[in-house]
Symmetry: C2
Subunit: 242 residues, 2 copies
């Protein structure tokens, strides 16, 4: 079973105050880039793996999606998502992505935002998603970048020239990374980017897009702290097709 850190009170309180929790999809600077990977949603059956507060589920319905099955491990997330949704075509359900089962060929799009780095057995999950999609179905997801996740002690190093660098070590050593983010002892599972791509190809997916997200100049002007994201990528956005 995956760690249910989102139901830890400190973590949930902190997470609820992030821009992406207050402002939804528009509060996530990578959202414009994610949209370039998404297919037209009109009439599509969508499954959202790690739906959080349901922002994407409601957006997908506004784009014309026929239905959204929105799954999350966190009772806190699901409670708020249900409270903010009045749409019978969105079904929220509690599910652990570690060991997930999904009906065969039940969906046209599987979507997930920043959830899979909490999952230990990624190849199993990818096979589950593959059989749950119709042929031609799309799989679009974001994860923390392994550059961001690899180091034993993540955190900026000041350079003599006044700039800063991100220390990378243990990149080839896959497995758990325990960090303190919003709460102590958050467990993530580090994989090389090549390992993530290989799991997709071995399950039968065709890669359609790979974006190591970075901000635009306009985004940095509006939110100067985003300049850090030019130094090392925090996120990877991946599009694949069955």
């Amino acid at each position: 079973m995956a760690q249910n850190i989102y139901d830890s009170p400190d973590f949930f309180a902190g997470y609820s105050q992030l821009p992406r929790s207050v402002h939804g999809l528009e509060g996530a600077p990578e959202w414009p880039s994610i949209q370039t990977l998404l297919p037209d949603l009109a009439g599509r059956r969508v499954v959202d793996l790690g739906c959080g507060f349901g922002w994407f589920a409601r957006w997908a319905r506004r784009q014309g999606a026929a239905s959204v099955l929105a799954l999350d491990l966190s009772d806190n997330m699901l409670a708020r998502a249900r409270a903010e949704t009045a749409d019978p075509a969105i079904v929220y359900a509690r599910a652990d992505l570690e060991g997930l089962d999904l009906p065969a060929a039940g969906f046209d799009l599987a979507y997930s935002a920043l959830a899979f780095h909490y999952i230990e057995d990624f190849p199993r999950l990818v096979r589950t998603v593959h059989q749950a999609l119709v042929p031609g179905g799309h799989f679009v997801f974001t994860i923390e970048h392994p550059i961001y996740m690899a180091p034993a002690r993540p955190g900026w190093i000041a350079r003599p020239d006044g700039g800063k660098s991100w220390p990378v070590d243990g990149y080839a050593v896959e497995g758990p990374r325990v960090t303190d983010w919003l709460a102590p002892g958050v467990v993530k599972h580090h994989r090389r980017l090549g390992t993530t791509i290989t799991a997709l190809l071995e399950a039968g997916f065709t890669l359609r897009g790979l974006v190591e997200w970075h901000p635009t100049a306009a985004q940095i002007a509006a939110r100067p702290t985003l300049a850090d994201e030019m130094e090392r990528p925090m996120m990877v956005l991946i599009g694949a097709q069955r």
Copy 2:
């Protein structure tokens, strides 16, 4: 035109003493991983982009390749390659990969080892290779990993715990990187891994494999300095198919 650093006397003298120059393919620790990406070569027409001393060209012929067109910018490399080859089915020719032309559908495999990071206009090169392959033809190449190439000042940083980290900065800032390796002022062109993959997909290739190379335990036991390669990847190995 790409920089012709291999014809600089200091660089060539240094390069000629590397294990991969003395021992050929077996002297390159990534060679076993490259082989997993290669198709069966029997009867195939091969083009080698940046052939160096011709080790791969001669190996491909021993595997049954019908012919090898082996291209390099360096007169020094080509002179030694010709001197060490007695095989009329291997043709060596001088060519600049920057601005390269190749005949349409003339090859079954395009191969390149550690050459493309010297090329500025990578998308043009990828389109050239795509039209030069028959449908179903393979494209297998290795490049320096962008983690290795990104930093302004590449070099290990000692950690308080006795380990070492590789400083990553400017990862999203693509363009030239000037370093001193075997000779001063070697110019390489940094691209995000996502940019490399996107160029392949946009040219019409299907991705078949992506390996961020790291050594096996047996390789580290035989050559302990390879342990560094567990901390940060130096090379990416990519397989694609038209």
